[in-house]
């Protein structure tokens, strides 16, 4: 799936709804809204053969959270950029389309506090058990200051 073929096919099927930008060879980007995401994802998987979801990156971009879905059909990497407002950070689950994305969505929940609607298993994944609820480490307002603990004493 080369970059030109991707651009042509997206234009044929969706007209001007989505634009494919290619800032670098083999790296295509499409910006899509939350409502249109499942439709585009399903079309990419079924019609164009984008079977592999490499990962899902979360970004804290000031006013909004962005989720970047990196998918590939083998050669180039296509990224779908979705923005959600911080006041309502909900995303639909795409595990029906890419079952392998199940762990990436759990990580998004842990790290940013995005809520993935319809996720089959929304438990905590990477953070420790005693991590306080409601604290999301990769948000920009989480600032970690290192407190040096005293060394353990013998006999404890």
């Amino acid at each position: 799936m080369t970059d030109d073929i991707l651009q042509t096919k997206v234009k044929e099927h969706f007209g001007d709804r989505f634009t494919v930008t290619i800032p670098h060879p083999n790296r295509a980007w499409i910006t899509v809204s939350v409502e249109e995401l499942p439709e585009l994802a399903k079309w990419l998987k079924d019609d164009l053969g984008y079977y592999h979801c490499s990962t899902i990156t979360g970004l804290d971009s000031g006013e909004v959270f962005e989720a970047l879905y990196h998918v590939t059909a083998g050669a180039g990497e296509l990224t779908l950029r979705v923005a959600v407002p911080k006041t309502n950070p909900h995303l639909p689950t795409l595990t029906a389309i890419w079952p392998g994305a199940i762990l990436y969505e759990r990580e998004l929940q842990d790290m940013f506090g995005l809520v993935i609607d319809g996720h089959p298993d929304p438990r905590r994944y990477v953070l420790p058990e005693d991590w306080p609820d409601g604290v999301y480490p990769l948000r920009k307002d989480y600032v970690y200051t290192y407190q040096e603990a005293p060394p353990a004493k013998r006999g404890e």
């Binding site: 420790p128 058990e129 991590w131 480490p137 290192y146 004493k153 013998r154």
Partner: protein
């Protein structure tokens, strides 16, 4: 009784049984510890035996900067090991937590959770450095 104590100390020094525990490191030190048991460096000819359970071990070899998730498990392993026990912190992460200083989710070294008897720095320490560190600890024990 003194004879039995001397016998026990002698056997501990001549053949220390070690437990290896990875407390959230990058695996580099763990590979080098295993490489110390492989044909090129062969720590087993000095009597070092790798055991699987803390109940049988004399020495705990801990690697990795301790992550918050595993801190309580490390403490539990330390409590399960019978006395007299010694802890060797292998690697720079285990000794002081660098290069992960400033990353959340770390305690910053093994000695924040359990008391350590010997530090073997290096990122990762070569198997020879590791065998040298163990030999130093045993020499100290013998001198006791």
């Amino acid at each position: 009784m003194a004879i039995l104590t001397n016998l026990a100390t002698w056997s501990r020094v001549k053949s220390p049984w070690v437990l290896h525990f990875n407390a959230g490191g990058c695996n580099g030190c763990d590979i080098e510890i295993l490489a110390a048991l492989m044909p090129r460096f062969d720590a087993e000819r000095f009597g070092v035996l790798l055991k699987s359970t803390p109940r049988h071990a004399d020495v705990i070899l801990a690697t990795g900067c301790v992550t918050k998730q595993i801190g309580s498990r490390l403490k539990r392993i330390y409590d399960q090991t019978p006395n007299p026990k010694f802890v060797i912190a292998v690697g720079t992460c285990a000794s002081g937590g660098a290069p992960f200083n400033g990353c959340y989710c770390n305690h910053g070294g093994i000695d924040r959770v359990i008391p350590v008897d010997m530090y073997i720095p290096g990122c990762p320490p070569r198997p020879d450095a590791f065998i040298y560190g163990v030999a130093q600890l045993l020499a100290k024990l013998q001198g006791k």
